[in-house]
Symmetry: C2
Subunit: 95 residues, 2 copies
Amino acid sequence: MVSPELRQRVAAELPHWAVEGEELAGTWRFDDFAGALAAAVTVGMLAERANHHPDLVIGWGRLMVRLTSHDVGGPTGRDVDLALAIQARIGRPPQ
Amino acid sequence: MVSPELRQRVAAELPHWAVEGEELAGTWRFDDFAGALAAAVTVGMLAERANHHPDLVIGWGRLMVRLTSHDVGGPTGRDVDLALAIQARIGRPPQ
């Protein structure tokens, strides 16, 4: 369940992210596998600090971050906050 | 396309792995997110050395490894070899 307020916040603050089902998802491209893995570790550090953990899908030159709040069954403000922190740390929005 | 020979080798040598579509897949459980991320980095190092890169799906307490040979459109002996190296390094077969 994704509230209209959450959708508005994503559209305004995270225009390169997508609400897919119950998840807030963003994908980045990298030059190789090592770049994607390094970014996954960076995201993992932020997740650990926030005590809020996304699913990460690593492929060759690709990292997908999938955020949700399992207790609510959909993304919340906490996911938006972590998404903002992730793209700030990676240094660019998802593609 | 998965050859009968490959299926036999997986059944004999990798009984805890599954052939799913065009991929050879195994999932491990861990105590927390950090354990899963650390295992993903370990797998990434083996992949880099082999110059053969799986997709990795990291979740809280969970790592899925998905191996295929894109040039052939399915798992090959190269994927079996890497799967064996991965489970040896992690120290236990997938669950």
